[in-house]
Amino acid sequence: MGNGLVKDIWVLSKRSVLTTLRSPFSFIPNLLISTFFLLVYDSGLSGISQLPAFDGANYLAFILPVSVVSAAIGGAGGAGQGIVKDIENGFFSRLLLTPASRLSIVLGPIIAGMLQLFVQTILILIVAFLMGLEVATGFLGVLVVLLLAVGWGLAFAGYSAGIALKTKNAQAAQAGTLIFFPLIFLSTTFVPYELIESSWLKVAATINPTTYIFESMRTVLIDGWKFWGIAKGIIAIMIACAITITFAALSAKKAVSRG
């Protein structure tokens, strides 16, 4: 009786996906807001791309990463929400009472969250293309943007799942995601680094990992294959994932252990 780890993960991820699809309001608002960002910022601010610091870049390509990252955060937050819901309705305990691998019980909602944000990112990219997006690195570049979004989402998913498993409280998990929201704006959100006036925001943007994600995506979308520009974001993702996934694993270990 029982399964291998892979089948456990497969079965439980499938169920988490189904659960997500059954409550469309868990992801539709997030998707709408992210698309809204894209439309409004592009329509309202695209004039500033005339400034020399933009180097003739298309503002749509410049602002697209903001929309993608905000969707990723919302999507990844879903992983934590899913776990909290399971704990609250007793389903988490029911799973713990089965021979299912402990890892798969925690990984199921996280994988579903990743899939959710993968699909969201594709939808946003489609909207961007409909708005006239041109990508310097072509199709491969779009894939890189997608992977960066998923990678950054995974870092958030680890964080939100960690909070969920630690607090077992829906409000706390929600609030935990909110802390990351300002990070989108304390960065090179609307203009390049050189155009940021206030020194505190410059400092914030420098230490904010989101800045490097934006930079990576913008490099691919606007500048072309420039190694260092792309690598910065990947390094930021790796560091963030190492921290948040360790946090999630430790919280998970505590939550599934028999204290």
Binding site: G2, N3, V11, R15, L97
Partner: protein
């Protein structure tokens, strides 16, 4: 094949939070095919015991073997052979009943085809076939309980653990759950460990009952044995003041030696075999002594009475309540 036995020795659980000792040196053994009940009030330690023996939490001390597997060292081995329905149902409200059962089957290693078959079997057993394709978030309390029970049966467990499975259910749902459990135990030979607050439930279903109070087992026996221990009837009297109650107590000790009773402030409870007959004697005796209780009733024993008596006995050991 492993046997559906439960063996618990000197089990204790101390929760560090609040430094509460929820289970105190509890030992018991359940044989294969036996229907065993833990009877006790809220907070007696029933749920904690269930959570320990079903691998959810670990004991502070003691040995626990379920289905011949050590709960501490081989929890997965235990989980494969047991079915557990906790006090709160464990259902994902966004799935349908059928999907929940199918998922549970898949987790236990069934192929898709086997899972389909087992799912429709179980839907039939718990009479949820018609509601099978509805989202279970919309099920009534009774339907949820039945689905939860079906989920615990997926792996044809050797041992079924049920933590207060009928609390909060209406009589008809309670009866139908009793029927399933009775059938499972008698026809399939499933060992059942049930916790309950209801004497009637333990009495109807269980082969053997342990009464648990404040983390300790205070009595164990067949329902008949336990009832015999307390007598068939209770004559309950309430006096105007404690002095009168004490006088009555003295009169009964003197004139009716061997009568089993418990006195608590102005109340005096007599445990007797034939209440109506003894009532006359008591009234006559009290009359002679010029004592008149404010109320006097003949009751059949309830869980409360058994508790009153048993806890009074353990208090008496510590030098508390007087006892005849």
């Amino acid at each position: 094949m492993v046997k559906g036995t439960i063996y618990v020795e000197h089990l204790s659980k101390i929760f560090k939070k609040g430094n509460v000792q929820a289970v105190k040196d509890v030992s018991f053994a359940v044989e294969e095919g036996e229907f065993f009940a833990f009877l006790g009030p809220n907070g007696a330690g029933k749920s904690t015991t269930v959570q320990i023996v079903t691998t959810l939490i670990s004991p502070s001390a003691g040995k626990v073997y379920v289905a011949e597997q050590d709960v501490l060292t081989n929890p997965k081995g235990v989980r494969e052979h047991i079915g557990v329905a906790l006090q709160e149902t464990g259902i994902d409200p966004s799935l349908t009943g059928r999907e929940m059962l199918h998922l549970q089957c898949r987790i236990f290693g069934f192929t898709n085809k086997q899972a389909k078959l087992r799912t429709s079997e179980l839907l039939e057993v718990v009479q949820l076939r018609e509601a099978a394709d509805r989202i279970c978030g919309n099920y009534s309390g009774g339907m949820r309980r039945r689905l939860d029970l079906a989920l615990t049966l997926v792996n044809k467990p050797k041992i079924l653990f049920l933590d207060e499975p009928t609390t909060g259910l209406d009589p008809s749902n309670r009866k139908s759950i009793w029927n399933y459990l009775h059938r499972l135990n008698k026809e399939e030979g499933t060992t059942i460990f049930l916790t309950t607050q209801y004497l009637e439930e333990a009495d109807t279903l269980a082969d053997r009952i342990s009464i648990i109070d404040d983390g300790e087992i205070v009595a164990t026996g067949t329902p008949q044995e336990l009832k015999a221990q307390i007598g068939n009837d209770i004559i309950a009297m309430n006096f105007e003041n404690e002095g009168e109650a004490e006088k009555a107590e003295a009169a009964i000790t003197q004139n009716m030696p061997g009568t089993d009773f418990v006195k608590r402030s102005t109340e005096l409870n007599l445990y007797v075999q034939n209440g109506t007959k003894r009532l006359m004697e008591i009234v006559r005796l009290l009359d002679q002594e010029n004592l008149a209780p404010q109320t006097i009733n003949v009751n059949t024993p309830t869980l409360d009475d058994i508790f009153l008596k048993i806890t009074a006995e353990s208090e008496q050991k510590r030098g508390g309540v007087e006892h005849g």
